[in-house]
């Protein structure tokens, strides 16, 4: 097994509130991995711990073979250039145009000529299905769906090995959401990247996710492929996957 991310016994506490109490999971190379759970189950916190925005109270995360506890500044910077992150609301820099947003890391970290950067930006825009003229607009001037696409283009700017997506399809219309899923699948196959995402979207879960972890009761209550997760009898899994709607909608997949 080629594990890209390993999470070992994560405990997170904010004051007296315990968010995670021993979370374990691993993510293999080249798979699309989803983190699921009710609101308040600590999905976003877990994601923040993976992308080094928060430090867990106890436990260890390793990414690309490097342990994040006591990581050196140099190693941390090298990991950061190996991943792309798409935030839930895009988090594009509002003082820059879309093109500048996509180019910012290339400008800071590489010696690529300006002309080449411009061409790279255009190719990223095309890759996520945005018109080239969108590049000259500011984030406040484009729609929510376009912000997500632009955010994805920025996350892909450094040719990452790993892609983190925080609710990529939330706030998109159903058609836009399916297109986004197709895009991510295509990118995975084209570029061979590993995708980690938080999602509630049943269509995405049934349609594109390879493996997933269910967060409930402060732990991972089920992990694995859809079929494996469906074996679980945990109340959240029962409620989320085995309700009338999913039974009706995805009859072939849910027993």
């Amino acid at each position: 097994m080629n594990k890209i991310i390993e999470v070992d016994g994560i405990v997170t506490r904010f004051g007296t509130r315990t968010i995670h109490d021993g979370v374990n999971l691993h993510i293999n190379k080249n798979e699309i991995y989803a983190i699921l759970g009710e609101s308040g189950s600590g999905k976003s916190v877990l994601m923040k711990e993976l992308i080094m925005l928060l430090e867990p109270t106890a436990g260890e995360v390793s990414i690309l073979g490097k342990k994040l506890n006591h990581i050196s500044f140099k190693d941390a910077q090298s990991i950061r250039s190996d991943w792309g992150v798409l935030f839930q609301f895009g988090a594009l820099f509002s003082s820059m145009t879309i093109s500048e947003n996509i180019a910012v890391q290339l400008k800071e970290y590489t010696n690529i000529s300006k002309k080449m950067i411009d061409r790279l930006v255009l190719s990223k825009l095309a890759l996520v299905g945005l018109d080239s003229h969108v590049g000259n607009l500011y984030p406040s001037q484009i729609s929510g769906g376009m912000v997500k696409r632009a955010g994805l283009a920025r996350a892909l700017a450094m040719e990452p090995k790993l892609l983190f997506l925080d609710e990529p399809t939330s706030g998109l219309d159903p058609i836009g959401a399916r297109n986004f899923d197709a895009l991510i699948l295509e990118l995975r196959d084209l570029l061979g990247i590993t995708v980690v995402m938080i999602t509630h979207d049943l269509e995405s879960i049934f349609g594109m996710v390879d493996r997933m972890a269910i967060l409930a009761d402060k732990r991972v209550v089920a992990e694995g492929s859809l079929a494996e997760v469906l074996q679980s009898t945990h109340p959240f899994v029962e409620e989320f996957f085995k309700n009338d709607y999913t039974k009706d909608r995805f009859r072939d997949k849910v027993i």
Binding site: M52, V85, Q105, E108
Partner: protein, 307 residues
């Protein structure tokens, strides 16, 4: 309320409610149902609130010291690697908080200079010491009021802008995005603002000094009939360079205070718009207070030193 009364009455006598529609009955049942489960939220008492606020203040102080530490780390890092300085942003902020503030700073200083001259004129005229108005205006303006007025205007103008800008970036997760890309928010956001203000504020103070003295000269001419030529002659005699230099020395220090508070409050914004408003308010209040406090400190130090 009706339900509460009903309950009280029922304890004593039997009550029958008549003449209600089916909608009203449903509503009544819903209310009785929910009223049953209501547990009033626990209200803290006075002592608990004092304790909580004390802990709050303590954590804020620790937080602030940590912020200052990180900032100095970034400052030294920039001094050792001057090529990593964000020149473009710095120039932008010099333009924003320096050049664009010229009008308001100049006008304020002019008016303050005028007010001092008018007020002083009345007193000095009693002794026939009209010409001393020049000393009053020139020394108070360059040494004390010029720097302080400028700093207060800038604390209200740029300090609040820094907090709001950084705070909004915090809410939209732009700062988190920067971190995941390996961009240090201190060298990208804090230092350009800090350096820009430390350059811009002394320049603004210089401008304020001049405008204040012009305001004073104007008022002296109107009230005491001291001609501008006489004013400048006298100015040349009484305004020692040290007064001007002492005032200018305060510039970078006030700038440091304002920018630090402004940025610190910006990073203190949590994920809601209410805290953005609160932090911007305290940024301005803290900024102005600290400027005045530092000014008082300087007054004491300079007087004790005899300069």
């Amino acid at each position: 309320m009706f339900i509460d009364y009903l309950r009280i009455f029922r304890d004593v006598v039997s009550v029958e409610v008549v003449g209600y529609s089916s909608k009203q009955r449903d509503m009544y049942e819903l209310l009785v149902d929910t009223n049953h489960h209501i547990v009033l939220p626990y209200k803290e008492n006075f002592v608990e609130k004092i304790g909580e606020n004390t802990v709050d203040i303590y954590t804020q102080i620790v937080d602030f010291i940590r912020f200052i530490g990180e900032m100095f780390y970034a400052i030294f890092h920039t001094i050792l690697h001057p090529r990593e300085m964000r020149l473009k942003e710095m120039v932008y902020h010099i333009h924003q908080s320096g050049f664009n503030a010229l009008l308001i700073v100049g006008l304020t200083a002019f008016l303050v200079g005028m007010v001092i001259a008018y007020q002083g004129a009345v007193q000095l005229a009693k002794f026939g010491a009209d010409i001393f108005i020049v000393d009053t205006v020139a020394i108070s303006m360059t040494r004390e009021l010029g720097p302080m007025i400028t700093a207060i205007v800038i604390a209200g103008r740029s300090g609040s802008a820094y907090t709001a800008e950084i705070g909004a970036m915090k809410i939209t997760e732009e700062i988190s995005a920067m971190r995941t890309m390996g961009f240090d928010p201190f060298s990208f956001l804090v230092l350009p603002r800090l350096f820009a203000l430390m350059i811009a504020l002394p320049l603004l103070i210089f401008f304020a000094d001049i405008m204040g003295i012009i305001g004073g000269a104007f008022a002296s001419y109107m009230e005491l009939g001291i001609s501008p030529t006489m004013f400048i002659d006298r100015l040349y005699e009484v305004l020692e360079v040290k007064h001007y230099l002492l005032g200018m020395l305060k510039g970078p220090i006030f700038a440091f205070v304002i920018a630090t508070i402004g940025c610190y409050r910006g990073f203190g914004v949590s994920d809601n718009t209410e805290s953005l408003g609160l932090q911007t308010t305290s940024s301005v209040v803290n900024g102005i207070f600290l400027v005045i406090a530092f000014d008082a400190l300087f007054s004491v130090i300079f007087t004790e030193l005899g300069v």
